[in-house]
Symmetry: C2
């Protein structure tokens, strides 16, 4: 077998891992043929043959000797042009670019038209092993629940374990290089949502990924919620969920309470995790680092190897849009934290409204007053439709005795 | 692509899952061509076209229309003959037969000579997804730690969670169909050892699997150990470990203490789990059912699909034996439960001997007397070479004041 000739565009954190593995591991199927960089004079973590390095993107794209282009430049516009040009010129593509793949239509349509391959395991590093195998298997994926953002998981697990405040945990995550360039993308759930868009496309075999999914981040999770959650036997995790219906899917990103002792609760630090249930009822779960130089580079190398071997490839083949179910129709359990005046009759007012909406309570705990003005009341419900709960809370939050917007967190049972 | 014609030999628990999927899922690459059974008149969970069923193993093996034989008969001798005959007659093989694959030399040598494929994901159902991908990837596996026996995990997790005795937990596991035909194979670690033999072959890319690996089961784990372990912050799990050295490997099966909150501790009931570290330092873990009709059937179907697609296949290619390191050279932490007379000076005698062997203690707790005659003393050590610890315990167990053999359990840190 002739080795595939690979050009790597980008020499940042991920690029350096890919280049290092290609140079040092001597993989017979893959030959590093070119490295394309914007700043050739920038100092690099290790020396590479200067002959390999070029700044001329156009030449690489038109070089008939290049078989596969690895796009790890980051950004959107330049990366997008490179991918489209390379496809037009007969190259296969491997990329870790979530922003481009989450809006997959353009690049996948072109690849499908030209019979080319786009490898994108690098966009969901922490779960690519499991998804890759299951998406090709006889048991199709029916439900997915995943922790997909290392920064958020770092923040939540360290707030919980060490009792440090949100801001300090975020700062540590940034210092350790977990956070995205703009940390808002992490903590507002945007990064998780992008991965969920991509994964929902894979699971539904469409490259017409949903352009938007309901998304709530972790900015408003307080130490109180973490502590009360723990007392009730739960940890808080930011998850993305995809649940396939008959002709539609329920897809969203939000913080949820998961039971202590469960696999998802055991996922610490910047790890990612994914739980999958297939249509035969078999549940598998994978825990792995969701980012980082080597994990991402290995995901990319695995794509390169699949292309080199001509192996069956995980690339969505249809262009059918996914119909999203209303999250108001989710039926699940909830944790509520109400902030109320500490006076007789308050609980009666609240429970009456919940009862009027047919919402059954699993537990209710009034905490000791934290200030002279208000106390927290923690409620857990049995199964209830989200719509119904939100209608009840709209009434409750208008009550004179309720002093702040009630916090709702889904309990994942 | 012409569909591969598949003969399934065996219509037991696993066979019925494979047959059901082949008949109902309409996988275009695979066509069920024959079902070979010993007892054609036995009642089956669903009806199959009588034309498909035969008792004539020889005819199937010589039928030029059959491309792949799935061996799910169980047993050793008949299954072995079938596999060898089918290979000789140009068929590829897919099997879930651990006993045969763990002594892989004969069948793999023949397959290699004839250029045929043997799929054996069905022999390590609970971790085949992760192993399959990583064994083909750029980051080679350096260390593996796995829970591979559902019966043992069921017993240990229910003893711990519900406080039920060993015998009751075993009975429940048998009633729920988790236990092997002979439960000793489960609880003595034999089943785990077979899977570890196979996985160590995969990890080392040799079909010359180690004929024996050091193996200790869970028969002697008492409720006391589970309770004391929990007080110290650990759960007890039966694990198999493979750690690659330069030209050798440390391989063994034994119960160990794993920290609460760790992924392995979160694995409940009959689930299996595997933690892998590759040579780039990336750690991934998978949790999945380790047996059962559908999980095993899906593993087999995935092998069939890989063969049908001509995909790169996870089959060891070398015949090099694995040199096993002495487990006496393991350096780790230990939990010790000593049974001693409740009188002054006893602890001094014990700690002196441990000190003489340079064994540092992390903790020592004397429990209240359970009988008039003896008390338990629980010791945890810092890192120590197993050889050294065993030498010390040999002396300790000879002391007049020590009333029972000291229990040692490795702490997995």
């Amino acid at each position: 077998m002739k080795a595939k000739r690979v050009a790597v565009a980008g020499f940042g954190n991920v690029g350096k891992g890919v280049i290092e593995i290609l140079l040092q591991k001597q993989i017979p199927e893959l030959k590093l043929a070119k490295i394309v960089v914007k700043h050739p004079d920038k100092s690099r973590p290790f020396n590479v043959d200067p002959e390999l390095v070029t700044t001329d993107f156009a030449r690489v794209v038109h070089d008939p000797e290049i078989d596969i282009v690895v796009e790890v430049m980051g950004g959107v516009e330049d990366a997008r042009s490179l991918i489209l040009d390379a496809l037009q010129n007969g190259k296969d593509i491997v990329t870790a670019n979530k922003a481009i793949i989450a809006r997959g239509n353009e690049v996948f349509s072109l690849a499908a038209k030209l019979g080319r391959t786009i490898g994108f395991r690098g966009t969901f590093v922490g779960c690519n092993t499991l998804i890759h195998d299951l998406s090709l298997s006889a048991g199709r994926i029916r439900r997915m629940c995943a922790i997909l953002n290392g920064t958020c998981n770092y923040i939540l697990s360290h707030m919980s374990r060490r009792g440090i405040p949100f801001e300090q945990a975020l700062k540590e995550a940034q210092e350790q290089g977990y956070a995205e360039a703009d940390a808002s993308d992490d903590i507002d759930g945007i990064d998780t949502a992008r991965k969920i868009q991509i994964l929902s496309g894979v699971i539904n075999n469409t490259f017409n990924m949903p352009p938007d999914v309901p998304c709530e981040g972790i900015r408003e999770i307080t130490m109180q919620d973490i502590q009360y959650g723990r007392e009730l036997g739960y940890a808080i995790k930011l998850v993305g969920i995809v649940e396939k219906g008959k002709d539609s899917a329920t897809i969203f990103v939000r913080p949820v309470l998961v039971p202590h002792g469960s696999l998802l609760a055991s996922v610490e630090d910047a790890n990612n995790a994914i739980e999958l249930e297939d249509d035969l009822g078999v549940v598998s779960a994978l825990v792995a680092p969701g980012a980082g130089t080597y994990p991402t580079a290995v995901a990319i190398i695995n794509d390169l190897l699949d292309i080199a071997h001509g192996d069956t490839f995980m690339m969505p083949t249809s262009n059918t849009p996914i119909v999203l179910n209303d999250t108001g129709d989710i039926e699940t359990r909830y944790y509520l934290r109400l902030t109320v005046i500490d006076q007789p009759g308050v609980l009666a007012q609240i429970t009456r409204i919940l009862g009027d909406h047919n919402i059954s309570l699993a537990s209710i705990i009034q905490k000791e007053a934290v200030s002279a003005k208000s106390v927290s009341v923690i409620v857990t419900t049995y199964l209830v439709r989200e719509k119904e709960l939100r209608a009840a809370l709209q009434q409750i939050d208008l009550l004179e005795v309720v002093k702040a917007k009630t916090r709702i967190i889904q309990i994942l049972a």
